[in-house]
Symmetry: C3
């Protein structure tokens, strides 16, 4: 608090905490979300074939967090539809982005300076959504840190977490990838935010709410702008993640366990490790032969099949770089 | 109202509104629904391999609307099971349609005159279901037109809307098609009904409820009979839909945008349109090569893969034509 | 009761009924569940690539029943997360089974004697879970036998019933198989338990609750031990099932109906049976050609594709046999 006082940030954080998301920040969120949908491979074709599926998909991009957290808390997932103004606003934006004469709206919004501003504003709404989710969970489940984190995360990154089912609406099915198997940057940053706000809510984090809001918002906005301007998609937590991963999830029995060490360790009682790896190989080779989507070893083939998704995820960043 | 009075339809509409769906109309609904399931490709095989999966699938055909609207309103999706009489009735019909000695029940019910009557009666239940959904949503969310439409639609056309998951029960997965991407006639007529009843409920439509019920029921029954007798599957709204589509969803930037015009318009800032279309092509050619279900461009391949579904959707109509 | 009195089992059954599942039996359930996940093909690879997806999958294995019954009763599916102690315990076990140095925990627990004890203890928790589900449904829906059975089944065998979606978390998608199409032994025994406890709860079964608990627990534990020791995966109900199947689901129109008899019976009105079988064949041959996952006739191809699953399901049994 002292630091905040010294830097005269107290007023700023209060001002930010009292900021209303509606209508400007919400609009920015809708625009950026619908543009992200439009940049998904195949989305434009769907928009021509079935405007209804396209609209429904857009709504899932815009209100996915509310829908997912609603389901998780056993509250009506149709609730977002009750807010007619928001739905109308999002629908108008959906219409303009996809069907505007001369494609004016999309072309303008895709210009780097405007897109930078819109993306920054969208990041601001993330803070509000995560905090909303955490608060909502706190009011229902007083002392459950895990539920708070889950709901905050779902509310802030819902669109990404339900992406498999959003894609299904558009007739696309990519079971080999999801946000849990390979988290994108927005999902990661939202998870971190949910953890921080949940810790603040339960007073494990000695920070005032509006200070945390200011810090988190500044971090997300600055980081997003940096990523868009430099075109890099490297996460700022890469080193940290790597360290945690190496410490916790490799231990003494690294991935080689699959092929070598465990065989020696468990050779006497013939554990399933061997069996599993054999059956995996057999099955995946069968799959290759008959051409089914490989259910057994999604990880190996993933590097290729994820490329397309990666590209579309980073599209926001990369093509803004191109616009320079 | 004057017109209704003149034509002496007032009493008729009151009589219709007081009609009880149980047991005869409900029975007709179950018979037609279970027969529609039986005519799905592969359903008969599933009925021999796993009667339980077949039964569960039948229940989703019969009570899909109640299940879906239950989920959407955060009410227990098992609720339909509490009505033992209905479940028992539907189960008996499921058993008779699938396992009756000599296949007597199915063969009889598939005769055109009987099927015509049963299908007509099933259409009558649609009115009640849509109205039930709209009323239920109205009692929860007073002034939200969108929620009323959504719930009315879900309740009336639930079986179709959840068809992807109903198929999954039978081990079938066709992600490239769903009712939002390509609406079937029953889904369309139910959506229109939901809109009309929601407008009536909120007094935007200056009609009395029982008059609207009579009009809507007559329209659906007559239209269904016409479609079954002539064997045509053309929607009566085709011209209307086409006009709306051309007005709203093509604008100045038609589908050609994907390939030509946008390139010129946005050539300077190198938008993703180009990128997207390129990656789409690349990915879909890859998919063809490795034989995966094409996630990137579901639309192109759809015409082929939809054929089977189309056939089964229209089976009711087409094979009744054959029976002439 | 007399028999129970004579055999001095009354006290034993009372003692069992008052047994606390936490922590030892719950722990055994978590260990066996997480080991079952680890023995799924591809699971070890996922655990290296994305610990989070692996953790989430493990939680679905451990708490799948609570999640599924929560969804079915419109109660928050995040509720299991509120029990921090259980989640923590399950998470520690997940960590130890997957990432323990030298793979010590898995190797030890996979030793036959220990695995036998753990599996037996897990079977005991099944009784409590089924009973919990039936009681919960009874308190909500007084007289609905079907709902009680459904919830009891869901709570006891949730992990299996949602396996399609649990696999999706790990990037695996096998639509051609699910627990309804081909029930595994645990799912079957849970269904029977749910039926028995529901009948007891509604007083159709003249047995006291603690007596039924003793009988059911003894049956499941002894049967599981037998299966693990002999390595057989034959269900003890095979003969009974076969008799029911032959009586009810073949009747006078056996599977041959598809190819022969129905044609004769319905030859005059050209039913869809012929059409269906033709289109099925056509479609499935198309599928084979283009290499899609066969949506039309999942049953034919199932015998092959199910093998892998069968193996993993029985892995628990088979590799314990090997350890002898």
């Amino acid at each position: 608090m002292d630091v905040f006082g010294l830097l005269h940030l107290d007023e700023l954080s209060h001002g930010l905490a009292n900021l209303s998301m509606f209508p400007y920040f919400d609009m920015a969120h809708y625009i950026v979300s619908v543009m992200a949908l439009r940049e998904q491979p195949g989305a434009l074709e769907v928009s021509r074939v079935s405007p209804l599926a396209c609209w429904f998909s857009s709504m899932l991009f815009c209100f996915g967090g509310a829908v997912l957290s609603g389901i998780m808390l056993a509250e009506p997932p149709v609730a977002p539809l009750t807010n007619s103004t928001s739905v109308l606003l999002a629908s108008v934006i959906w219409y303009l982005v996809f069907y505007c004469p001369m494609d004016l709206v999309y072309c303008c919004a895709a210009l780097l300076p405007l897109r930078l501003v819109l993306s920054g504003m969208k990041e601001v709404t993330r803070t509000w959504k995560v905090l909303g989710g955490v608060t909502q969970a706190h009011s229902k489940y007083k002392d459950s840190l895990l539920v708070m984190i889950a709901i905050g995360w779902a509310k802030g990154a819902g669109g990404g977490l339900i992406s498999n089912f959003e894609q299904l609406v558009r007739g696309v099915w990519r079971p080999e990838t999801n946000e849990l198997l390979k988290m994108s940057y927005p999902t990661k940053i939202t998870l971190i935010g949910a953890v921080l706000f949940a810790l603040q809510q339960t007073h494990y984090l000695p920070l005032q709410k509006h200070h945390l809001m200011l810090l988190y918002t500044m971090f997300t906005v600055i980081n997003k702008s940096r990523m868009m301007l430099t075109g890099s998609s490297t996460s700022p937590f890469a080193a940290f993640e790597s360290a945690i991963y190496k410490t916790l999830f490799t231990g003494y029995s690294p991935y080689a366990a699959l092929t070598g060490e465990v065989k020696k360790a468990c050779i006497d009682n013939g554990t399933t490790n061997e069996m599993t790896s054999t059956s995996t190989t057999k099955e995946s080779s069968e799959n290759r032969a008959v051409g089914k989507s490989s259910p057994a070893s999604p990880v190996r083939g993933q590097s290729e099949s994820l490329k397309a998704k990666e590209e579309s995820e980073n599209a926001e960043t990369t093509d803004c770089k191109k616009t320079n």
